[in-house]
Symmetry: C2
Subunit: 444 residues, 2 copies
């Protein structure tokens, strides 16, 4: 097959751009840094939402919906927060043909507006913990943008909770990091997660502590795929989130916030993709099995439909490509690009022998299988593919993590993976020097 993509080894960012365009995942929107997520890309996000939402609800968190527009004055109430976000705001100044009395910001995140309502809803320790989440769009003004990875508008979930004590809030922040974020990324996305606490420089504006879920991409760079913040009592003070404790005394709440976004789609692409395109782990894949008609004929079409119906009946996510009139080679390249884990090719020759060809995108294998054993073969191929992606990613991380003794060694090692450096040997000074070489301290 001719290269449809720039090879990863030649120019990784270019490869990324190519995949996003050719697999029809997303394109730029008209407003600066906005993006259009096309059906193939959106289906990946939809599956992420499904899986994450189950895990979020398992923690007792409930979904809600807060307004898009936040009065400018809300931001002023928490000093570190306004400093961090003011430069990135998109401002609404007019509505219904008239100038607004107070300017409204499109939410860059919703600690402020949600804090305002939490203060109303929390009265007694019996109301705690209050565990809320919303799936929504947010906007931050960005100069340099890349589809999925850094865009002015993105889709995300933002969790916001209030707790009775520091300990409860702390434990919940870690529960989200481990049981929701890392669990999803490792068990569904098949991407090993480095978890830890961020340095002061990388901390969320207004937080006491930020925990990050970091994942290594195939170019040796690290992507932050999720963050969970302990906000201490900073927002509780700013928004007056007070409650009567079990001892009858008024107390300030302890809040947390945590988020993951469509950036995870970018992480999936760069964490597993190869020179032929995406490789989507079966547990996530919106299409786990593509049933393809090799050539047009009544027998082939009806056999393909039967296989499709059977696998769908088994609860698999299946798609049927019945376009016998479009060149098979072109369709196969497209299937590789889109990274469907398994495809079943049904052609007249195989069919005569009562067989079909099962291709594993991830294992790179091609097997001829009797029609009666397809379901079994597909199930095995999907399981093997999930494991292979995980094993590869784990091995990649191991071979791309270096123990460093000094900041200079760490900067050198970070050019192609993780560098493990004791914080004693780094410190704030070392962090600044590393930043000069575009290296960041990911987690402590």
């Amino acid at each position: 097959m001719a290269n449809v993509l720039t090879p990863q080894g030649e120019d990784f960012p270019r490869w990324y751009q190519d995949v996003v365009a050719k697999a029809e995942l997303a394109e730029n929107g008209p407003a600066k840094g906005s993006q259009v997520i096309r059906p193939t890309g959106f289906a990946l996000w939809e599956r992420m939402v499904d899986e994450m939402d189950d895990r979020i609800k398992e923690t007792g968190t409930e979904n809600a919906s807060f307004p898009l527009l936040i009065p400018e004055s809300y931001f002023q109430r928490e000093a570190a927060h306004v400093e961090g976000f003011a430069p990135e705001l998109w401002m609404v100044t007019h509505g219904g043909g008239k100038e607004l009395e107070e300017k409204l910001a499109i939410r860059p995140t919703s600690e402020t507006i949600i804090g305002e309502y939490m203060a109303k809803w929390v009265n007694s320790y019996r109301d705690l913990p209050l565990l809320l989440n919303q799936w929504c769009n947010v906007m931050r003004y960005e100069l340099r943008t890349r589809l999925f990875l850094r865009s002015s508008e993105f889709l995300w979930q933002e969790g916001h909770t209030v707790h009775e004590s520091y300990e409860d809030a702390h434990a919940f922040t870690l529960r989200i990091l481990h049981d929701v974020y890392a669990d999803f990324m490792e068990n569904v996305l098949a991407l090993p997660v480095l978890r830890g606490i961020k340095t002061e420089a990388e901390r969320f504006a207004g937080a006491l502590n930020t925990f990050g879920a970091e994942v290594l991409m195939r170019d040796g760079k690290v992507l932050q795929m999720g963050t969970s913040h302990e906000l201490g009592q900073n927002f509780a003070k700013a928004f007056d989130i007070r409650f009567q404790g079990s001892d009858g005394k008024q107390q300030l709440g302890w809040t947390t916030s945590w988020g993951t976004s469509t950036r995870m789609v970018g992480g999936l692409i760069m964490g597993h993709g190869d020179d032929a395109g995406l490789r989507v782990p079966p547990r996530l894949a919106p299409v786990q099995v593509l049933v393809m008609v090799v050539k047009d004929s009544d027998e082939v079409q009806s056999a393909a439909k039967k296989v499709y119906d059977e696998l769908k009946g088994d609860g698999l996510r299946v798609k049927l490509d019945h376009r016998g009139d479009v060149a098979f080679g072109r369709r196969a390249v497209d299937a590789e690009l889109k990274g469907y884990p398994v495809r079943i090719e049904i052609g007249p020759r195989d069919l005569k022998n009562g067989e079909a060809t099962v291709v594993s995108r991830i294992e790179g294998t091609k097997q001829t299988i009797p029609l009666g054993m397809l379901a079994e073969a597909v199930a095995a191929a999907l399981e093997a593919a999930q494991m292979k992606l995980w094993d590869e990613a784990l091995e990649f991380r191991e071979t791309h993590t270096t123990d460093a003794a000094t900041v200079d060694e760490a900067i050198e090692a970070a050019q192609h993976g993780y560098a493990r450096l004791p914080w004693d040997a780094c410190g704030v000074e070392g962090e600044k020097r590393a930043a000069g070489s575009a290296v960041t301290v990911r987690v402590l």
Copy 2:
């Protein structure tokens, strides 16, 4: 029980406000006409999304995501559209601390921006039909607002499609109206739908024809719960959506758009609610069964947990109220308010006899049932409740539809339900006169 709500018969709009507040469904947001949807209200919407999304996908439509902000110039391209929407726009003028070169509108609906991209993606008749949908937020400036029913920001789905011919587009518009909207509203929401074509005055800005799904509320007023628009070639012309036909000639596409929103939550409340609160049809209900501990004791708690686990295991949507330390009466009133279709009350006395009490919110019955037969009794109660809501709504519609011969008779009849009037006897003049009496021609 004391009245916690203004009775419907006394002041219906007030009753509505009371239910929304006391059942903790939603409240006003800080920006004009914005709303906060609380977990209990949002769970209703989430279930609507689930059910609708399945039906939308059944039609072959795929989900995608388009930007929130639309350049002002896009609106200018379709004359009727800009005229209809310009007065309602919320405008973003600044981003990243600087004034923008072109003002951006927060989407009031996305025909324009989606049309721009459809034009890129549609090249040949083989690309058609192109069937897209997005679940998102939109904003329209509103002076008088009511939670869920009319708000500046609301959540919705908007479908946008391109077809090869007038016939295809027309058929698809009706398929959405019948197989998605009316099917969902009747079979899940248990609300009979009046379907038909809107008059010119009520038509979507830029459409050839608008079909409405209209539902009668319990105050005798009609709520538009969904619309499906044939856009003809108006937007295809404005955005240059052209394709090479099977005959090799360049042609303009035929587009449709269709939407339903969080207004449906308002319709559900007003379509079924009574003086005690919401009544949620079991097929929709986020909580179908509430298992309640009457009094605190180890036996009661463990029996309740067992019932909860069993029903959940059967695939029902169940919630456990184990707050033995909160007065039972208060919790029962809250359960009525929130409209859970069935609740199971487990107390020490019943338990001694190996029984529990099954209360049907909708049938208004209370039965003592042996623990071993609870699953069966609950299933029967849910089925009966769904049917009862449907039958009641249907009967209400029948007794509130009057045949009228003249516009005056119709205006009179419309004060308490539908008036059926031949269009010959009404006409544009009659429609204007009716409008003077706050009566609108719903569908033809």
